[in-house]
């Protein structure tokens, strides 16, 4: 324990992790959708900081660009363009039974993941061999090139299919005229 306390990085970790935990709690309990999403921003930002502490810079800025810059903005955009009243909504609250069940599931997940991690790695120090952007690029276009390219097709298919399902059919527009 003494070792743990003497390391400055551990204090940073503790602070960020606690803040993240609180933000994540607010995501679930907030009775205002926009507040919940903003708490999610804080949670994701916290995870970015944790990666920064680990020295995984590329992951940090990917989290910021993809999650905060794109996913969250789309969340907010979607919420605001449909309905986003100020103040609190009672219907977002759940009965105590549901809450208890959710708490049990979440606690079980936490125990499971925590136990797995400790069981699998223990106090062993894990050193990352691939950290710089160049190395990541070489890995992506070498060993992992196939899944990488397949993912691009997944996205293309989702994009085209999504547009087809969501768009107003040209025929329907003509019908209306």
């Amino acid at each position: 324990m003494g070792d743990w306390l003497s390391e400055v990085a551990n204090w940073w970790f503790a602070a960020v992790a606690l803040a993240m935990g609180y933000a994540a709690y607010r995501v679930v309990t907030s009775a205002n959708v926009v507040h919940a999403v903003l708490a999610l921003v804080a949670t994701l930002g916290g995870s970015a900081v944790l990666f920064l502490l680990l020295g995984a810079e590329f992951v940090v800025w990917t989290v910021v660009l993809v999650y905060i810059g794109a996913v969250i903005v789309l969340f907010l955009f979607g919420i605001m363009i449909t309905r986003a009243p100020l103040g609190y909504e009672a219907e977002l609250d759940h009965p105590p039974k549901t809450k208890a069940l959710a708490a049990i599931v979440a606690g079980a997940m936490f125990l499971l993941i925590g136990w797995t991690l400790v069981d699998a790695f223990g106090t062993e120090e894990v050193t990352a061999s691939v950290t710089t952007v160049g190395d990541i690029g070489l890995q992506l276009f070498g060993r992992f090139v196939l899944p990488f390219e397949v993912v691009s097709l997944v996205l293309l298919a989702a994009l085209i299919g999504g547009i087809v399902l969501a768009r107003q059919d040209p025929v329907d527009i003509e019908d209306q005229r």
């Binding site: 499971l112 797995t116 991690l117 069981d119 699998a120 992992f144 196939l146 899944p147 298919a157 299919g161």
Partner: protein, 504 residues
């Protein structure tokens, strides 16, 4: 050490990927829309050619080696197992595309995008057949299911199609999450991504309980994809609501992809974990065949009936998995052989059965069994096809299904001294009889009942078959009859995959 890039080994994937893009490009050009389908058919045909050259490599002059080709650090393997299954996917995609052409042309559907998504999904299945690491197989599975979600909702104006897509999507996403969680647990414990690595890491030694949990989660994830009980809830509604050619693809292509994932991951990555997945799959197999068959008996809609029947057939395919923990060596190979062979036979029969349903629906505009009664009086040819495919699914010799059932029972009996294997055999036998009952009910309705009075006779038997649908029906019917008489034609391919079970 494996070669980094082997163009010959990847030729089927590359041609298929090019085809997928070409279909989009053709759709953009000012030509009739069915050109896109023709492009897809040509591309599928072209990508079968390198499969043959790869399989016959030792016979050809320009080809150097013949063994399994390991690519990308052993994460992608082209061997006879994957070649056979790629062939299955490409051929069943060919037939699914033929089934679809007339259907999507008949109404206001987006056609080019339909073919694009279908081929993209097939591409994912082809990638899955060769994937030998967690990332590739997961990404492949996502590519199989992603387009399928969208295709299920292709009838945009129809609330049932929307319901089908939404149910399928939500269940699919849930199963993907479970699968991914299981995979992350396995990676966390072993620190390995490739199946060969995981297999090596699990030899002998004590494994933490979390690993077992990971294995079970992965099985659950795939069980959703193959719609095995108790993860089948989405199947009947999705099958009924989705456009019929999509249902045909879901029940064959997408389901086979799930089975391939299960086969690959069970027999290679979890080869040392047979004690875990054997019993688990025993339960799932028994539940699937029993529940699927019992509910199918009460169905009055042909598509729902086929939906439950495909759940039950999935149970038959899972049965050989269940005995894998009880047997070794040649008999273990026999279990794999049984599943693959069943899959190969099932593909033709089931695609044919859906083809018949589509043809029947184009005649009577309904999939309700009651409105099909007496069809033999005005459409004898179609009624003959009903007999062929439904009896084949039931396993009546000399139609294709009997041989699939035979190898399945052989595999189960190979574990015989074990009481669980015997019990499984008995349950499967009872189920085969129950299944015969409802398949025969369809045939009886078509041939022996009288034409319903509320349908005016003049409206019946009018329109001829769409040529593409007729071609698909012809191919599947001939395949069903020929492979029933000479099962060696298909089981030869099943034999080729045997060695996959005993190591690589």
């Amino acid at each position: 050490m494996s070669a980094l890039f082997d163009y010959h080994a990847l030729a089927p994937e590359l041609i298929l990927a090019f085809t997928v893009m070409a279909v989009l490009a053709v759709d953009l050009m000012p030509v009739p829309k069915y050109y896109a389908a023709v492009t897809g058919l040509v591309g599928l045909f072209a990508s079968i050619i390198p499969l043959l050259t790869l399989a016959l490599c030792s016979e050809l002059s320009f080809c150097s080696d013949n063994g399994a080709r390991l690519l990308f650090g052993d994460s992608y393997v082209v061997d006879t197992f994957s070649l056979v299954l790629k062939g299955l996917f490409l051929v069943s995609a060919f037939i699914s595309l033929l089934l679809a052409v007339g259907y999507v042309e008949s109404d206001r559907y987006y056609q080019g995008e339909y073919y694009f998504l279908l081929l993209a999904s097939v591409f994912g299945a082809v990638v899955m057949a060769s994937s030998r690491d967690l990332i590739s197989i997961f990404v492949g599975l996502e590519l199989v299911s992603g387009p399928a979600f969208l295709l299920a909702g292709w009838r945009k104006g129809d609330a049932r199609s929307n319901e089908a897509a939404l149910k399928f999507f939500i269940v699919g996403v849930l199963s993907a999450a479970i699968l991914l969680f299981g995979m992350s647990l396995i990676y966390g414990v072993t620190g390995e991504l490739t199946f060969s690595g995981i297999r090596a890491a699990t030899v002998g030694g004590e494994l933490p309980a979390v690993f077992t949990l990971g294995v079970l989660f992965v099985l659950m994830g795939f069980a959703f994809k193959v719609s095995a009980v108790p993860f089948h809830f989405w199947t009947p509604d999705t099958y009924e609501g989705a456009p019929t050619p999509v249902t045909a693809y879901l029940s064959v292509g997408s389901k086979a992809a799930g089975f391939v994932g299960l086969l690959v991951i069970c027999y290679s990555a979890f080869a040392n974990m047979r004690d875990i997945w054997g019993p688990a799959l025993w339960i799932i197999a028994v539940a699937s065949m029993t529940l699927g068959n019992l509910i199918a008996v009460r169905q009055t809609n042909v598509i729902r009936l086929l939906g439950y029947s495909s759940i039950a057939q999935g149970g038959f395919m899972l049965a050989p998995f269940a005995v894998a923990s009880m047997v070794e060596g040649v008999e273990l190979e026999g279990a794999l052989f049984a599943t693959v062979t069943y899959l190969l036979f099932y593909a033709f029969m089931n695609l044919g059965a859906f083809g018949v349903v589509m043809a029947g629906m184009s005649k009577v505009k309904s999939a309700e069994l009651s409105s099909w009664s007496g069809m033999a009086q005005y459409a004898p040819g179609l009624s003959m096809l009903v007999v062929i495919f439904f009896f084949a699914l039931a396993g009546v010799p000399p139609l294709a299904g009997w041989f699939a059932k035979l190898v399945m029972f052989q595999a189960i009996i190979s574990g015989a001294p074990n009481v669980w294997a015997v019990l499984l055999g008995v349950i499967a036998a009872v189920n085969a009889v129950v299944a015969f009952f409802y398949y025969a009910k369809v045939v009886k309705t078509v041939w022996m009942d009288s034409v319903p009075v509320e349908i005016p006779a003049a409206e019946l038997g009018g329109s001829g078959l769409n040529p593409a649908l007729a071609l698909a029906l012809g191919i599947t019917a001939i395949a069903t009859i020929v492979t029933g008489l000479f099962p060696g034609v298909l089981s030869f391919f099943g034999e080729a995959t045997r060695t996959f079970a005993s190591g690589f």
